[in-house]
């Protein structure tokens, strides 16, 4: 990776959704993956994101308890209101 191709950890975090959706440009995808090879923290973060997506994919509305559902709705209302 040349100096001009450097990617910071913060930039990687900002790009991770596009990376996982396969919408990064080839050049940016390359920079992203080069960073992951060199940075254990970002490799771990990418693993966490993949695991989270896999787990949430298997969730249905019925699989959430009424308490958890209410708690989530509360957070969303606060978030939107704030």
């Amino acid at each position: 990776m040349l100096i001009s191709e450097d990617l910071t950890c913060q930039e990687l975090v900002e790009l991770v959704t596009e990376y996982l959706e396969g919408t990064l440009r080839p050049k940016d995808r390359d920079r992203f993956e080069q960073h992951v090879v060199l940075c254990d923290g970002c490799a771990y973060y990418l693993d966490q994101m993949r695991t989270m997506i896999a787990l949430t994919d298997s969730l249905t509305e019925e699989s959430i308890t009424p308490e958890a559902r209410e708690s989530l709705l509360h957070v969303f209302r606060e978030w939107k209101g704030g």
Binding site: L2, I3, G22, P26, D30, E33, V36, V37, L38
Partner: protein, 173 residues
């Protein structure tokens, strides 16, 4: 059919996909959501220094094999044989070579780059003993770039690939 190399984490895990590769089984690039959306990725010997991980495997690529920046991409691939010569010891040997060249550049440096090269040499020395091959390859290439520009960078990466080819018995870079 093209023969190439695949860098994997311990247990044949893809470093970006998290996919556990089966041995001797054709894997389709677009057919598995866990894999890269754009196909199966692998390396030529000259690409290896950029992607080194703990395990190195020989892979066969098939169906629309194409070259991209620092990698090969195909629609399907099959890992065949682990490169047994790529071990913690050989990774440490690679890392030590990179650290030694970085140190040499730092010692010979004059002018405004001397301080930065000294920092890189210190980073290299601190990490070489851990056998962090990809990181040391990066540091040595970065030092070469500071010292001699993009041509120096390319020369250093070529030297790394040649070392791997020679030490591991791979096809020449």
């Amino acid at each position: 059919m093209v023969r190439a190399y695949k860098c994997l984490r311990p247990g044949r895990i893809g470093p970006f996909s998290g996919y556990r590769w089966p041995v001797g089984v054709w894997v389709e690039g677009g057919g598995n959501a866990a894999l890269c959306l754009r196909g199966i990725h692998a390396c030529r010997t000259e690409d290896l220094p950029y992607w080194l991980t703990q395990e190195l495997w020989e892979i066969e690529l098939d169906d629309d094999v194409r070259r991209e920046h620092r990698k090969l991409v195909a629609n399907r691939g099959r890992i065949e044989r682990r490169i047994e010569a790529w071990t913690r010891a050989s990774a440490a040997g690679f890392a030590e070579g990179c650290a030694a060249r970085t140190e040499q550049r730092a010692m010979q440096a004059r002018g405004e780059q001397a301080g930065r090269l000294a920092e890189l040499a210190a980073d290299a020395a601190a990490n070489a003993a851990k056998g962090e091959a990809a990181l040391l390859g990066f540091i040595a290439a970065r030092a070469a770039e500071l010292d001699s520009g993009t041509e120096g960078y390319a020369d250093e990466r070529r030297a790394q690939a040649n070392w791997l080819a020679s030490e591991l018995g791979l096809e020449a870079a």
